[in-house]
């Protein structure tokens, strides 16, 4: 092998890089100092990623016959593909191109121009040494299983499932609760248009229930995920319903006859009751009830069986056991939603201690025509209609003591509450806010409308809610104590009812979820998208997408948009039938392998098999994910990793150390 002809291309990225790194000097240095390493041309250019920049590279490949290309620009995670394609277009194998980051790793994180320029040089010489050892590779193609798993039956999941199913591909929807619908099913009105939540949601729920392409698995949870993009094996746990769904007609007699009532902590947010055998709400999909084992008299005492006695189709089956179902899917969409922050944590607001302090979800149920009060707004006593209502924004949001982030929906939700409270009771309504955030379409108009209705907007974060009266006017009231920051004075406003617009928080089991699906969470606990702006529904894990509040607090329109976006990504992949994967794989040199079996249990994907007969190990390229742990683990150096070979990394180390470790004399490029 003759010495490689290497081209080095240094990007200014406008002033993003050039502002801190002397790019001209770097290019000049590379041309002179790295010439003996095979660098035949080094150029700097305003925007390497622009079409002109790419043409520059293509031209050199053709005219100078470059055999290797090093681009010093932004992070490979942004433009690696761009420059590989450029090389491809010029007839050079794309994997003979190396992109090194002198923006994220240099110009953006350093201020000292000299030091930054020095580091850029080191990084480039590292890239040059590394690229010498690159080999021409072909991307791996793996077939995609056409089925998709959607986890979570809230509005985001429903949207995604329907889009995919309507495109003609099979969908499995797994929902933890007895019915799909999610939080949206609990609401009465939706901002800013105030159309009835049920009216727009239930048709979609029914579609999911009836869709020929959708397999609905409610009262179920994902237990385990194996495999990789295109070929996931998922284990789903089907909790026992104690109702034979094939027999049940959803007539509801069992619910009528069940003698035991319990507080409904989930759907009614603790504000109402349900029977022990129940469907969460009338329009539930599917409409089969479940028996709540913990509270069922039969399961506790061994007697009762009222539901069984009265069931006309003998659908009740106390013997039902949980089932574990295996499904194969090509891709996964996570729409696992959010939990409501527990306002009890903010003791000074008295939730849980002061009867007439309510959470936002409680209020939603209050106002819901199908809710425990039939849509009427009362105090906790269930009869008194409040004359004054206080709505406290940012309860648990924008607060370092609880959640540092803005929960996004609270402003609009609180304005909606203000409107509903006024509409239903004609009460005086006070909204306490830090800032009003109504950026989306028709949102600020809604704010205007609520102002017109005469809602008092008080700018100030409520300090405390107390029942400690000062003087008679406070007697028997809740006093909201706040600084009205616009007049700079402390105010104490007596009200009958306080509603806390509680924060949206990640599901309490978000960590297990992330772990099971191989995703990572932000420090707040929301699942992390591949790119916050440019790739909001994809994740770092190929073939797994996220939608709705699992990714962060958002309202219904945004959740729907994400659901659809995720679906589009999935459909796009399915229609390619197969996907190209980075050919980063490990291979075992059968000659060198001594069959010591050290590597055998290093692979979490069971890609390494041991041939007893020949006493050697082998890597199954289809299962190998290319992490390289076995490469690093092989005592005989018999395993090599394409794309990240020992030679490549060792050479890069030399390169990185090269020009500032004066004494490290570089022997001529070894001939492999």
């Amino acid at each position: 092998m003759a010495q490689e002809k290497i081209g080095v291309y240094v990007c200014h990225c406008g002033s993003n890089i050039a502002g801190t790194v002397d790019v001209e000097d770097v290019a000049k240095w590379a041309a002179e100092q790295l010439h003996h390493r095979g660098v035949v041309v080094a150029r700097d250019y305003k925007f390497m990623c622009s079409s002109l920049g790419q043409e520059l590279i293509e031209k050199d490949i053709k005219q100078l016959g470059l055999t290797r290309v090093v681009v010093a620009a932004c992070s490979p995670h942004l433009h690696e593909r761009t420059f590989r394609t450029a090389c491809k277009n010029a007839g050079l194998n794309p994997y003979l191109c190396e992109l090194v980051s002198i923006r994220e790793q240099v110009s953006w994180v350093h201020t000292d121009k000299v030091a930054a320029t020095e580091k850029a040089k080191a990084i480039i010489s590292g890239g040059v040494e590394r690229v010498i050892w690159h080999e021409a590779l072909e991307p791996l193609k793996v077939p995609i299983h056409p089925a998709t798993l959607v986890v979570g039956g809230g509005i985001a999941g429903i949207q995604a499932a329907l889009e995919i199913a309507d495109a003609g591909f099979p969908v499995y929807m797994v929902e933890r609760e007895p019915s799909i619908g999610g939080h949206m099913a609990q609401f009465d009105k939706t901002f800013p248009t105030l159309d009835c939540s049920a009216c727009i949601l239930t048709p979609k729920m029914v579609d999911v229930g009836n869709h020929p392409n959708i397999t609905l698995m409610t009262w179920s949870e994902v237990m385990r995920v194996d495999g990789y993009v295109g070929n996931f094996q998922v284990t789903v746990r089907q909790k026992p319903r104690y109702v034979k769904t094939e027999l049940c007609t959803g007539c509801g007699i069992c619910q009528e006859k069940c003698p035991k009532k319990v507080i409904d902590e989930v759907f009614e947010a603790g504000l109402g009751y349900r029977k022990v055998v129940y469907t969460p709400f009338p329009q539930a999909v599917p409409n089969y009830p479940v028996i709540d084992r913990e509270n069922c008299t039969y399961f506790i005492k061994g007697t009762c069986k009222a539901c069984q006695k009265f069931c006309p189709t003998e659908a009740i089956d106390f013997e039902q056991k949980e089932e574990f179902i295996q499904i194969d899917v090509g891709q996964i969409i996570l729409a696992t939603g959010y939990d409501l922050f527990d306002p009890r944590k903010i003791a000074q607001y008295g939730y849980g201690r002061l009867a007439n302090v309510f959470s936002s979800l409680e209020f939603e149920r209050f106002t819901n025509a199908a809710g425990p009060t039939g849509g009427k707004l009362y105090l906790r006593d269930g009869v008194t209609v409040p004359k004054t209502v206080a709505i406290i924004h940012c309860s648990g949001s924008r607060d370092k003591n609880y959640n540092n982030y803005c929960s996004n929906i609270c402003c609009m939700q609180s304005l909606k509450f203000a409107h509903l409270a006024k509409e239903k009771t004609g009460a005086e309504v006070y909204n306490f806010y830090i800032d009003i955030r109504t950026p989306a379409k028709a949102y600020d108009e809604f704010y205007q409308r609520v102002l017109e209705e005469g809602t008092h907007m008080i700018r100030g974060r409520v300090a405390e809610v107390t029942d400690a009266a000062r003087g008679t006017k406070d007697e028997g009231k809740l006093i909201v104590q706040v600084e009205d920051t616009l007049i700079g004075k402390q105010r104490r406003i007596p009200v009958d009812m306080v509603i806390l617009s509680a924060a949206l928080v990640p599901r309490k089991d978000h960590h297990e979820t992330a772990r099971m699906f191989g995703l990572s969470c932000s420090s707040d606990g929301w699942l992390i998208e591949r790119h916050p702006k440019l790739d909001p529904v994809a994740t770092m894990t190929e073939g797994i997408f996220i939608a709705g509040c699992a990714q962060g607090p958002k309202d219904i329109p945004a959740s729907v948009a994400q659901g659809a976006a995720a679906a589009a990504r999935v459909i796009g992949k399915i229609q390619q039938h197969e996907i190209a994967m980075e050919p980063v794989r490990a291979t075992v040199d059968q000659e060198k392998c001594s069959g010591c079996r050290i590597c055998n249990n290093l692979c979490p994907f069971n890609a390494i098999l041991f041939h007893e007969d020949r006493m050697v190990s082998e890597v199954n390229p289809a299962l190998c994910q290319g992490c390289g742990t076995c490469v690093a683990g092989c005592p005989a150096g018999a395993i090599t990793g394409t794309g990240f070979s020992n030679e490549q990394v060792l050479a890069q180390i030399d390169g990185l150390l090269l020009h500032n470790i004066k004494h490290l004399e570089m022997e001529a490029v070894p001939v492999p």
Partner: protein
Amino acid sequence: MTTNGKPKFAMYWAASCGGCEIAVLNIHEKILDVDANFDVVFWPVAMDAKYKDVEAMEDGSILLTLFNGAIRNDENEHVAKLLRRKSKILVAFGSCANEGCMPALANLSSVQEMVDTAFSTITTDNPNGIRPQVTFTVPEGDLHIPQLYPAVRTLDQIVPVDYYMPGCPPESHQIAAVIDLVIQVLQGKAELPPAGTVIGAGNSTCCDECKRKRNEKLIKKFERIQHVMIDPELCLLEQGILCSGPATRSGCNALCPAAGSPCIGCYGPADGVLDYGSRLMTAVASVIDSNDPDEIEHILDGIPDPAGQFYRFNLAGSLMRFSKSAWQG
């Protein structure tokens, strides 16, 4: 010394124990072939010869030199350079010349520490606290003994080497094979392998030749061999005994494991391995059966002397080559 037409053969020992010589003699009647085919011109252990005789020879006049022993002092270096000049084929013979072997374990300490150990520990009877001097004057004149270097080096860190023959010592059957080969080459019946090749050894690792049964490896505790009853059938590493087999070049027919004693790694790294010790380290660490840092540390306490364990034969040939105390004195 006769000057017949036979090609010239030399063998030299630098810092070594003499085991390599014995191994050569251990090839039994094959030694006669050596005599039949070669004119032995220089072999301190077997015959009297002076450096000046070698210096007098024509450059490149020796066909084959087997050089064993590491480079510990300036004499070793001097002779290494001398023989390189005089020989056509220079073979780094045995672990010392290849990778430093036992002498190189001294690279973990400074020369001072080493001399102290040798001349002033309780096991030494040295009432006058005598220390070796490089130069010493006697009535006949000045006596010189070689100067120790701060660290031991391998032959190829001093001069270019044509072939490498690992082992401590190289197995006699391998030596015999190599000698056969050279003779065949002389008779034009065979080709020499490309320069830089490792000869007289396999290119996989010890496990390849080991007969013991093996499974996936999960280690909860490292055992010292004298503390456990060893399953005669099962892989030693799986029994918690630190066996260097997985990382050590094949060629010895896994003699030690066969005898129920773990491989100690004398055949050095496998083909293309840059650092023997780190290969062994990574293998051993990888199969520790714990994800809890504290527990792992506890398990690692079962390896009291990691550097000695993983670089027993290879320190001089390793990436680090020596410890800080060696070069800081």
